[in-house]
Symmetry: C2
Subunit: 541 residues, 2 copies
């Protein structure tokens, strides 16, 4: 990591701009997006933060710390409610301790101890969850109910389990192009370690720099590929986890038809069944051929049709991101009022120009105009930079009293138009009602032959002290529409604590009962990340 990790916001502190720069951003919001006068504030110092005393005695045979700063770092993820509470210095939900295991034996000991003591254990990779996936809030909802203190229910305490100590590349099998890696390894370290072999994972979630392989698997993280390899799922050959009931692992084979895929029980398990400790990942060399272009559409719906036809033609663009006019504005792409499709192809084996030509012919037939090459490269670069640095903007916005969040989904093409229209209206109404004003944008992050994965960003005026309430009102309005219109509550942000109510509406009761029965078997004491993914069941003490 190039810098000091921010204790309250996204990424490294060094990238939090000085007041003057933030004032310039505030002015842009005031003039371009209709925000009233914004007040730029400063974050607290680390020493000003309020953290409760730890209240649990620790196991002797597992490395653990109760250091205040480490506990602060393991309190929240990186959602808007997390940033707001951090910016106010409120670290009430801090875990009692942070376990720092160096191997599976440490983890087994910790889970055994925690099961006996009824202490909750929350696996913590990079801590970039935006759905309250790592917050020690066992009965509340990670900000959704305005939590600024900890609710531990029947538990005697909460330990956050850092995976930082399991960050090795154990084996690289060049012949099969795969590697066995520890769950705690971060994106950049993984690719650096693989460089000697000329291989890469090529999975770039927006959190890439600050998140881990284990976190990606536990949350089914989305990568930068718009098609085909959309989730980490597609790169996972096999997963291994320590559960309170023993080791759960799948055989490292390229494919199998033997029963339900065991990897799929851990992909998306969000720490509720156990701790993912390592995985075999499928690798590939750096692509040899690339082509990229941006296409402008006067109408968003023209762009939607072009996108649909491109994926239904079974073209597999690496990038196929449709931005609505508000996204174009927010990303400072010089195409005011237009929708823009950022289209890119990459290939190992052969040139991709003909793929691009085919896709452009489709765009043309739906009213798309190709930007000239220079502009196009600009849009592409601008897009990539804003992709990885995007979350930094949230830090600035929080500091000027702007409520900002994103949500995303996937829905079939036949339902998209109605969903989008209803969603836009509902979120606009909720923002007007809760905040007096607000702006929402939409882009496609991933696309499938049967439907798009639209990604929404909203910005509204926050009122100090009421931020969580305002956020909850908007977030709930959006989530209700998703569920009512046949969409999923999340395409790649996971369930965590924040999405749990809607996740329960999305799934059949029978399926939830099956998951709960699995959890009872794998985690008899109910200590694994209680409240995330699944409703926290009653704990007998």
């Amino acid at each position: 990591m190039n810098g000091t990790e921010s204790f309250w916001g996204w990424g490294v502190s060094e990238k939090f701009p000085e007041r003057k720069t933030r004032r310039e951003l505030a002015e842009r919001l005031e003039t371009e997006l209709g925000f009233p006068d914004l007040t730029v504030q400063e974050p607290p110092s680390l020493s000003e933060c309020r953290v409760p005393e730890p209240s649990v005695s620790l196991p002797e045979d597992v490395p653990c710390t109760t250091e205040r700063d480490v506990r602060i770092h393991h309190t929240y993820g990186k959602s808007y409610p997390d940033l707001v509470r951090g910016f106010r210095g409120q670290f009430g939900p801090a875990p009692d301790a942070v376990a720092q295991p160096t191997d599976e034996t440490d983890i087994q000991r910790l889970l055994e101890w925690a099961s006996e003591e009824t202490v909750a254990v929350i696996p913590f990779g990079g801590g970039t969850s935006v759905v309250g996936g790592v917050e020690p809030d066992l009965e509340g909802r990670a900000g959704l109910d305005g939590t600024t203190s900890r609710s531990t229910g029947a538990y005697n305490g909460v330990v956050s389990l850092s995976l930082d100590g399991l960050d090795s590349i154990h084996e690289v099998d060049e012949r099969s192009r795969r590697a066995r890696v520890g769950a705690g390894i971060y994106g950049p370290a993984l690719n650096e370690g693989l460089e000697a072999y000329g291989l890469q994972l090529r999975h770039y979630p927006q959190s890439y720099e600050f998140s881990t392989v284990g976190g990606w698997i536990a949350t089914r993280a989305g990568g930068h590929f718009a098609t085909r390899y959309t989730h980490i799922d597609d790169f996972v050959e096999s997963v291994r986890a320590v559960t309170p009931a023993g080791i759960l692992e799948a055989r490292d084979v390229p494919a199998s038809g033997a029963g339900p895929d065991p990897n799929r029980f851990l992909l998306g398990s969000e720490g509720a069944f156990g701790v993912i400790t390592e995985a075999w990942l499928r690798l590939q060399p750096r692509p040899v051929h690339r082509a990229r272009v941006s296409v402008e559409f006067d109408s968003f719906w023209g762009g939607v049709e072009a996108t649909r036809e491109i994926v239904q033609s079974r073209l597999t663009p690496a990038n196929c991101r449709l931005l609505d006019p508000t996204e174009v504005l927010l990303n400072e792409i010089p195409a005011p009022g237009k929708s823009v499709l950022v289209l890119g192809f990459e290939s190992l084996a052969q040139p991709v120009e003909s793929d691009l030509e085919t896709a452009l012919a489709i765009c043309d037939s739906h009213g798309g105009t190709i930007q000239d090459e220079t502009e196009s490269a600009d849009a592409g670069d601008s897009w990539r930079n804003s992709f990885f640095d995007g979350p930094y903007l949230f830090n600035q916005l929080v500091s000027m009293g702007v409520l900002v969040d994103t949500f995303e989904t996937a829905v079939t093409w036949d339902r998209f138009e109605e969903l989008h229209t209803t969603l836009t209206r509902a979120v606009q109404n909720a923002m007007a009602d809760a905040c007096g004003m607000g702006v929402m944008s939409c882009r496609f992050t991933h696309v499938y032959p049967d439907g798009p994965a639209p990604y929404y960003t909203f910005l509204a005026l926050a009122e100090e002290g009421r931020e969580l309430e305002q956020w909850r009102q908007i977030k709930s309005a959006a989530a209700d529409v998703l569920i009512a219109h046949g969409a999923t509550i999340t395409h790649h942000h996971a369930v965590g604590r924040v999405h749990r109510d809607w996740y329960e509406q999305e799934q059949s009761e029978t399926y939830l009962a099956a998951l709960q029965s699995m959890k009872r078997t794998l985690d008899p004491a109910g200590i694994m990340n209680p409240g995330a993914l699944l409703h926290n069941r009653e704990i007998r003490r």
Copy 2:
């Protein structure tokens, strides 16, 4: 179906050739494969078959039949032990009755009744299982222990549940290119029904003509695509099932990151949790561009290297089937002593010639020689015909006392050579030991960047009355090697009853415990296809 379904063998009776033709095949085996003099026998008439009387009283509110011929048809799958027992007229394991529901309500009623009465229920699609997946053999092993009578253990009886009544195409969503179809629909009926929309599923398992969508999903069937869309899994948007505990279904969205994928609990569930009743499937138009060629290799290992490089270049051939010299001989491809790679590309959007050229350059660098176009087309056609008609050959072989079976796996490239060498030796030894002689061939049916899915066929001399014992010896030798060498017990033939012992070795105990706990929740009385996939647990009566 064009003909009368064979009650003992594969497919329709009309395709069972007359004695003279079979005698010609026997001669080929004698001269080309070194078989001693073979005796060609005739199958029994339906009336000669031995079927026990049914022993269970039926529910009044669900359509059921105890007709002898229907029960015979629902006794076995289509494995070698099934054909041999059928050819001898032994239908001891026949179910007591065959339920013929016409909708989900019928199924719910049946499962409720069966749960109360402790009667086992075996979902039956097309009945083409080659792993004892549909045999009413609840404690035995579908031929693996020489079963020719029924073992019902603690159950009061067994009902086979035919899905033939749930064969509708419910909805076609042309915009999202998907359809909601009943689980009981057969391959040809599905594609005929979709023809009006210009769409196809493009999933062609070898059993295509005689198997159903529900069966494909329950067993994770492999299709004809060698890469990318290798299993039905890749075409399934969402699945719905009736379990004794209620409806288990997933939302029909193009993708989701919300928790473990619920579809994956049903894909490969083999009727152990409930009855798959319908699914949303992803469709596509007929491909516009195709190219195909056959490449000869003097060395099988040259072909292996070429295949590996092709898939690792991220080319996605529709066909990429490497045949060893014995496969070449069995498939009557005019390239004696050579290995042949049948290579095909197809595409909707654009010509595939450059894909083919890239692949051929790779073959060339590994010693591959392109057959001329005429020969090449022959090899391709010969291949396709023998693919779909291949199983018919088994009927003939059984009638002349030849023991014939196939098994398949997937393994990473780094382990393939040792696996293949050990497997070849072990199976040759087992055939020599059990039968005095035998021949084994290998082809790749599917290939992945991290490893191939090799498919083996073996032929040996059977001794009347000892066939099951001989088969078990060879089958066990092969399966033991797969498990010992890091391969999977099956890439697309499922687990059923036959593979269960090795499946339990392949999976972690913790995972099996999790599956069993799910089963207890979804199927509290333990009536769903007991003995298939999972070890049959103790039933309290």
